[in-house]
Amino acid sequence: MTTTTNLENGLFSAADALRSKMDANQYKDYLLGTVFYKYLSDSQLYTIAELLGEDEATLTQAQQLYEQNASNTDLIQELQATFGYVIAPEYTYTNILKAVQNHTFQLKQLGDAFNKLESTGKEFDGLFEDYDLYSKRLGNTAQKQADTIAGVIAAIGKLEIVKTSGDSLGDAYEYLISQFASESGKKAGEFYTPQKVSELLTRLTLVDKDYSKGMTVYDPAMGSGSLLLNFRNYVKHPDRITYYGQEINTSTYNLARMNMILHHVEMANQVLRNGDTLDEDWPAEEVTNFDAVVMNPPYSLKWSAAEGFKEDPRFAAYGVLPPKSKADYAFLLHGFYHLKHSGAMAIVLPHGILFRGGTEGKIRQKLLENGAIAAIIGLPANLFYSTSIPTTIVVLKKDKTDRNVLFIDASKEFEKVKTQNVLRESDIQRIIDTYQKRVDVDKYAHLATFEEIQENEFNLNIPRYVDTFEEEEPVDVNQLLTQMKAIKQEEAQLTDQINTMMAELVGTTPEAKATLDLLKEVLK
């Protein structure tokens, strides 16, 4: 079995073939696409071997078995039923890899393989759109382009990605995405929410809920979909979750689709859309009541704030629109609008939303007056790849019976890993426990009444509610005195000893004699 670290390293070094040719944001499409295809192909091959009673077969052996049994219609039907796709023997990753090793590989072979798969059904339609086989970036001639791709196929071909422990392929995918995020900076950060933050958002919406009969979750800015997929880890029946997600960027949207497939989410259980969340309300006609809404939208994005939005049901109740320069509250209100009465929403936003005035202040006041804000959680700075600013989680609910807000200052509890800060499992647990109990914790949490918030003019800046000021240690006067006395005594002794030794010094030139006479006076 391949360990996660090996898998991560393998994937990362596979990128070497591409790294010199293009930036991370572009080569991710090749790398992630190749890994995805290999995953589909390998899963199928291993299943074929198992169906034929050869559980221990290697990929090469499984390929042979497949070739020998390709005309077995029962087998093919079984595959179709299990996977929703069938990759023909000539198009398996293993077969393509063989061509690479025999130096007979042609781009057409891979292109055909992708086309065949994409035409299998809606599930795969357009998935390899960004995998441009004939891009000039891969090389100037067809041969060079083929060589580059062959390099990637060979490098990834060495890796075992199906028979890995737990969710390690998912983790490795996350790792790759995080590497892209750090290599291409802010650009790539937009599709990635660190695992631990995703976990926290997810668990916050699940506190005191029982979704064993099923649930719906919605991420209106889903990126690669990893935040949505987190729910699988924290509910009893993951197969009863229905995922709704929207993403504006087409490549990222495709990434989310692959991610769903890699995590075995049935088509019936996912409604993903490639579109602009703020521009047009979605989902408008389908279910608009979600048990959980989670999001980590782009911070302080510019948006149109057109007058017409005042009539939009998402914003109409607030009388004003978030400013053009900062769509933070637009995202928040969008998500909140789609929340079920009994549901919970958790959103990550920059601290500015807690205290900025203007229309944002008015929206904030309205939300507080309605008792919609359940908790404000201050997170450590530098948690994200895209930005180092400190962020905050706002938890919203529609069925709260009071107007209290729980403030948690979790900004000081994290672990530093290289240049990033990371939430530890214990940090997340402490936040969840505190959120559940809703009581004051010294230097950590405070349950503020509506009156208190009113007194602070609806400014939610966390230090006003959670006092984390560390009292100075009182000076140990006893120790101070002892040390001072000892120093004075030692100083006197040393000075004596030094003066005695200096008296024994001689100058070897007339100038040196003069210098020495002065030096001898210094400590007298």
């Binding site: 920059p350 400014n459 230090p463 000021f469 100075e472 000076v475 001072m484 040393l494 040196a512 030096l519």
Partner: protein, 418 residues
Amino acid sequence: MRKWKQMKVEKLVPKIRFQGFTEEWEAKKLGEILLKIGDGLHGTPIYNINGNTAFVNGNNLINGKIVINKETKMVDNFQQSKNDKSLNDNTILMSINGTIGNLAYYNNENVMLSKSVAFLETNKYSKLFIYQLLQSEQIIYYFINNLTGTTIKNLGLKIIRKTPCKVPKEKMEQENIGNLLKKIDQLIALQQQKIALLELLKKAFLQKMFASENQKVPEIRFVGFNDEWEHEKLVNLGHAFSGLSGKSKKDFGHGKAKFVTYMNVFKNPLASLLEVEPIEIDNKQHEIKYGDVFFTISSETPMEVGMSSVWKYNSPNVYLNSFCFGYRLDYNFDLNYLAFMLRSNDFRKKVIILAQGISRFNISKNKLLNIEIFFPMLKEQQKIGVFFEELDQLISTNNHKLTNLKSLKKSLLQNMFI
């Protein structure tokens, strides 16, 4: 016949030496006077938070000692033996990567060296002497001229071996020099400890000599004063004014007027007359006056927002930088008292809560002026003010003494080595 110009032969003796020694010194290389020269582990060990061996870098070598701090990584004991460099009582450690030339005596501590630390083992030549020799200008100069590396400088072991030096033949003379300079090092270390203790003393008084929300009278006060302290919001005692406004880059750096810099306000409870920068006279700006208080508006951490400074000078055409705001009292306060009270624990705590921002932290002028301050009658203020000012002066006198001791050491290094 060609005439050879007679060379003047420089005698190898130091300008200042111990009496009774007359013999010339020898020219050697460091590699010849040391038994062993090596460095630590190239690469990364496996860290273990619960390990009992410190993984030591060049910056752990401070003033002759190995100083372990919070950032120091720990490793297991067995790794130590795996990379055993047989350190012993005769070993001197020196930083050779990044910071060059920090020194420490090895005192049998449980450590593992990184590649940024060299170990130098002495035997025939005095350890104390070599320790000081490594600080002499001639040696440092040679090191610096032979560093490799662009951003992170490195001193190679080969270079250390090749470094020329002059040493007394007699071990006794070496020992004497080493001993004297060691004692001066000790005196410098003592002086540093003394300053730290004096700072602590001041802190103790800052904690106890001001009233606060919880204690209407301070824990410690001067004899003869018994009245309860008054309290009032700043906004009711004076008014705010702004720093420089409407200035662009080209307006700075010239002119007959001055402005008080941000750092001056940030660092000093009482602003310094020296930390000002030139600017053109401009009667649209607020001229600062004797008794004005300045507050910084923004900072990088919430702990540093709203730092205060009091101006005690009567000097015309001085303005305040644009990252601060000023506050002018309508009532008579003792300025020293004001300066220290505004930096006391109680007041700072109230300021820090008001800090808000994303990448930088700001403070609202109105919010700050809403803070309540505590104060006694003027006579008691004056007593407290003078007391803290004198404490500050005592600390600064001791800082001067420290500087002087360092100069003494430097002068001896210059004169007692060749």
